[in-house]
């Protein structure tokens, strides 16, 4: 192992550990909702595990993987050591300490507020402080990424950043804009309130700040996955990237549109006026555009790969693709699942239809296709590709690695589609037991909750395979000279000079203006309104 790879590997292992623990908890939840009476089943354990699953998957697994991947992009695409290595390590230890603090109070049952932690449900202060430290750690990472890019740019006057770095810069900018909201919520509202320094909080203000953060959070997860789709997948598939400028346009659009859309999570909230909800609706449909372009560009890149292997017919290029390669199959399958997730997202964004599915099982069905497939499956596939190249060990248990993405795909089909349907039938999300004293409506959900549990079993098996391959590779993989990490070439050569699409300074300013347009006035009128705060309530 090269010394420079200790930093990404440390982050990667935290991500893998968080994923393993969270996957085990998810399996238990799927069984519980199907009303399977296992001896350890209890409402308390269920809600604790929902909280732990959400925090570990959505915040810890994703953030640590993204930080690891960011450092890989610096060392392999910019081809330099990360700037300020001490700051990078300080960020790692801060985020890890925060994770451990939050996990300890969650497992102790003192922070059963789910990963959305809506007040006035109140958690132990260590929960909020721990999550703050995770964010602070990620800010250190963001600073290291920006400093590394600045140093590279000084040595490459006028040259555009490699596409992988271009995408990671978008990720960093989206994250820095987004985390302002959650930092304001946690630092100004929740920490003083949980410590008893203030008596009450305004729950709607907290929800506005949370969802200011909560939607761009989704793109913080998704953009690194897109970087992998654009810059790793075409090469692994044996082809080239269909269009480099289109990919750059996509990343710029995400910088612009990720944040001013948060009210679409609050369609059903009182206290937010209809006009602002409508503006956020329109912007939400705007942000579908870059994802549609991505679906097109990445599929076209796969076709290019198939044709470079000799395909000539309409669809035979599909057969030429390396379906046995775990990175390729992970990404390709995650894209298929994500197509359904994207269409479901358009339904959620349409406030009329949203009224039917809001807070039902449909929603968990939806985001397991997006973050649970497009993001998580891509990150798992990327780990198969990364770990041997970082450690110099061959992938161990290769058969499990080959089967794992298909098992995830199948499990997710069963889990997600059954949840979409029970959601349409009115089953609420996040319930320990969906029996409702034998109500007729609840009886109708029964068979499908069973299908969801079978999906959960397959997903758990798939997650276990992934962990076995990772641990097996680290402990027993054959040592050899690691393969280099190479990025996809574009089909048409890249312009040698930076263009408007590379001017992130300008785009960041436009993004901030859009955020101000979408949020400043509603927040200002909200703060001026006569409001009443809520005291805290401990959930149990």
């Amino acid at each position: 192992m090269n010394r420079r790879d200790r930093l990404p590997l440390a982050h990667l292992w935290v991500a893998i550990a968080a994923f393993g623990v969270a996957a085990a908890m998810a399996f238990m939840q799927a069984l519980s909702r199907a009303s399977l009476d296992l001896p350890w089943r209890s409402a308390k354990l269920y809600y604790i595990s929902v909280t732990a699953h959400g925090v570990l998957m959505a915040l810890v697994f994703t953030t640590f993987f993204i930080m690891a991947f960011g450092y890989v992009v610096v060392t392999r695409a910019l081809e330099r050591a990360p700037a300020a290595p001490r700051l990078a390590w300080a960020g790692f230890w801060t985020a890890l300490a925060g994770t451990l603090a939050a996990v300890v109070v969650i497992l102790a049952g003192k922070a059963t507020v789910l990963y959305t932690f809506y007040p006035p449900l109140q958690a132990h202060p260590a929960f909020y402080i721990g999550l703050t430290l995770v964010i602070v750690g990620s800010w250190c990472w963001a600073a290291v990424m920006l400093l590394s890019y600045r140093a590279w740019r000084r040595e490459h006057e006028g040259a555009p950043a490699p596409l992988a770095m271009h995408g990671m810069l978008a990720t960093v900018i989206v994250w820095l804009i987004a985390t302002v909201g959650v930092a304001a919520e946690v630092l100004l509202q929740l920490i003083p309130w949980s410590l008893g320094w203030t008596k009450t909080v305004d729950p709607i203000l907290a929800r506005m700040l949370f969802w200011y953060f909560g939607h761009p959070l989704v793109y913080f997860w998704l953009l690194p996955a897109y970087v992998i789709w654009y810059t790793v997948l075409p090469r692994v598939a044996g082809g080239k990237l269909f269009s480099d400028p289109l990919a750059r346009l996509v990343f710029v659009l995400f910088v612009l549109l990720s944040t001013p859309v948060g009210f679409h999570h609050q369609f059903m909230d009182p206290g937010v006026s209809a006009g602002w909800k409508l503006l956020h609706t329109f912007l939400t449909f705007g942000i579908l555009f870059p994802s549609f372009v991505t679906a097109f560009t990445v599929t076209a890149s796969m076709e290019v790969a198939g044709r470079m292997q000799g395909a000539t017919g309409l669809l035979d290029w599909l057969g030429k693709l390396p379906w046995r390669d775990p990175l390729f199959s992970s990404v390709a399958l995650s894209m298929i699942l994500f197509a359904f997730g994207g269409l479901g997202g358009a339904i959620n964004a349409s406030f009329g239809m949203n009224a039917v599915v809001h807070n039902t099982a449909w929603i968990q069905g939806h985001f397991h296709l997006t973050v649970g497939s497009a993001v998580a499956l891509t990150f798992m596939g990327a780990s198969y590709w990364l770990l041997p190249r970082l450690t110099g060990r061959e992938l161990e248990l290769g058969l499990l690695a080959r089967v794992q993405p298909y098992l995830w795909f199948l499990g997710m089909l069963l889990f997600s589609f059954s949840n979409h349907v029970t959601g349409l039938m009115g089953m609420p999300r996040r319930v320990y037991d969906a029996g409702y004293d034998g109500a007729a409506a609840a009886q109708a959900w029964r068979g499908l909750t069973g299908v969801s549990a079978v999906g959960g079993l397959l997903l758990f098996a798939s997650a276990a395979f992934f962990i076995m391959v990772m641990v097996g590779t680290a402990l027993a993989g054959k040592r050899r000279e690691p393969e280099p990490i190479l990025w996809a070439e574009p089909l048409h050569p890249l312009a040698p000079r930076r263009t408007l699409l590379d001017r992130y300074g300008v785009w960041t300013v436009v993004a901030v203006i859009l955020v101000l347009v979408a949020y400043a006035y509603p927040l200002w009128t909200h703060l001026r309104m006569a409001r009443f705060g809520s005291p805290g309530f401990i959930p149990f």
Partner: protein, 150 residues
């Protein structure tokens, strides 16, 4: 790329036509209340249903882990306005099998109007996690032919 653009424009047009043509708007109601004094506030001191010639008004409170009242009777085929608030944490109020669905947030009053065309018994569930008994928090809506008895 252009195909993607056309799709987005089509989606937006669908929403815009609804907004402009039928005055369809995102659900919204801005009204506040002191969450520590819900039971003394004249707007919520007497949860229940009032029926008049125009339709019915339902006043209800969500709390850990029940709705008050637990059984709501409304007339079929006439507008029913729901007014809801919470006495403690954030709850959801969802009438299963209909599009009646809102968040119930302490300090705020949620209000929406809908019409139930099908008489019968409907399950109301809390759809926002609110604590250990979240899955037990439910109520009953009975839609009656020919109007509810006041």
């Amino acid at each position: 790329m252009w195909a993607a653009g056309v799709l987005i424009v089509a989606f937006l047009a669908t929403i815009a036509v609804g907004v402009a043509g039928s005055a369809l708007q995102p659900p919204s109601h801005v009204e506040t209340i002191d969450p520590t004094k819900v039971w003394n506030d004249p707007r919520f001191a007497h949860p229940g249903v009032t029926v008049d010639e125009r339709g019915a008004t339902v006043v209800a409170v969500g709390m850990m882990f029940a709705f008050m009242p637990a059984e709501i009777r409304v007339p079929a085929g006439r507008p029913v306005t729901f007014r809801l608030t919470s006495a403690d944490v954030v709850h959801g109020f969802q009438i299963v099998g209909t599009n009646g669905n809102t968040m119930v947030v302490p300090g705020y009053i949620s209000q929406f109007t809908t019409v139930f065309r099908e008489p019968g018994e409907y399950l109301i569930v809390c759809n926002e996690y609110c604590g250990l008994g979240h899955h037990l928090m439910s109520a009953k809506l009975i839609v009656e032919e020919g109007g509810a008895r006041p």
